[in-house]
Amino acid sequence: MSETAHVHPTPRDYWQIAGVLFVITAVEVAVAYIEALDPVVAPILLTLSAAKFVLVVGWFMHLKYDLKRYRRFFYLGLAGAVLLLGGTLFTFGVLIGH
């Protein structure tokens, strides 16, 4: 896709995405209550949450269809947040033993 291309989804697509978001949220809540899934609940919930994140950012915020430069700025912040999260938890949780 070129830097200037703009292809927007239709309202029908938006309703379908909202339906998928609803289903994922319902599955998340169900997973949190199923004791048999306790050992793997964190990766499952984080994966489902990431799927919702991608749907909203990609389609509702049009990042999938918009200029690449917007993606770069947003992903830069996201990468910084992941580094911050990892760094903080490692420093205070492991090194210092907070």
Binding site: Y14, S49, Y70, L84
Partner: protein
Amino acid sequence: MSEHTAVDTNAEHHADPDVVRKTAIWVFLGSEVLFFGSLISTFLLYRTRIGDGPGAEVFDIPFTSVSSFVLLMSSLTMVLAHHASTRKDWRQMRVWLLATAMLGMVFLAGQVYEFTEFVHEGLTVGTSPFGSSFFVLTGFHGAHVAVGVILLLGTAFMSFAGRFRPDEGMNVEMVGLYWHFVDIVWIAIFTIVYLLQV
């Protein structure tokens, strides 16, 4: 360099104002990701330090799930408002903007109710590091939702008052990007703060 060449060179450097504004808001949102990332990190560090107060057992997951659903649906109404603005269907745009603002207010009312319940159960901002980090994180998110509601209502009323020019659909997109961002932050908070602590 001739005067003519200088003018052409300047014209090449004049970026599309809409692209500049959208770049600015994406940079802003990128910085906001860092802001909420630091608050979530703090919560994760202190989530087990409940002191003498209650911990995550006070969370009412079914209630918060409904709040999450309300906020997710507000993203749908927001994107429909933006879509209407791109078609210059101002009436539809106003309807969806007001629907989004209403859903935002329902979410905020839910948060006020939830906070009140937590305080009644003994969890306050001063009870424990867990309470402090929880209220600061969710409180800042709530403040962002409140700002979003003000922006939505302001945009809708500007349109009602006829102060919305046909070329100002970009304003709706800016407000929309901010609103969707508030939604994705809640997606992270709902999973990390609520569901993973059950």
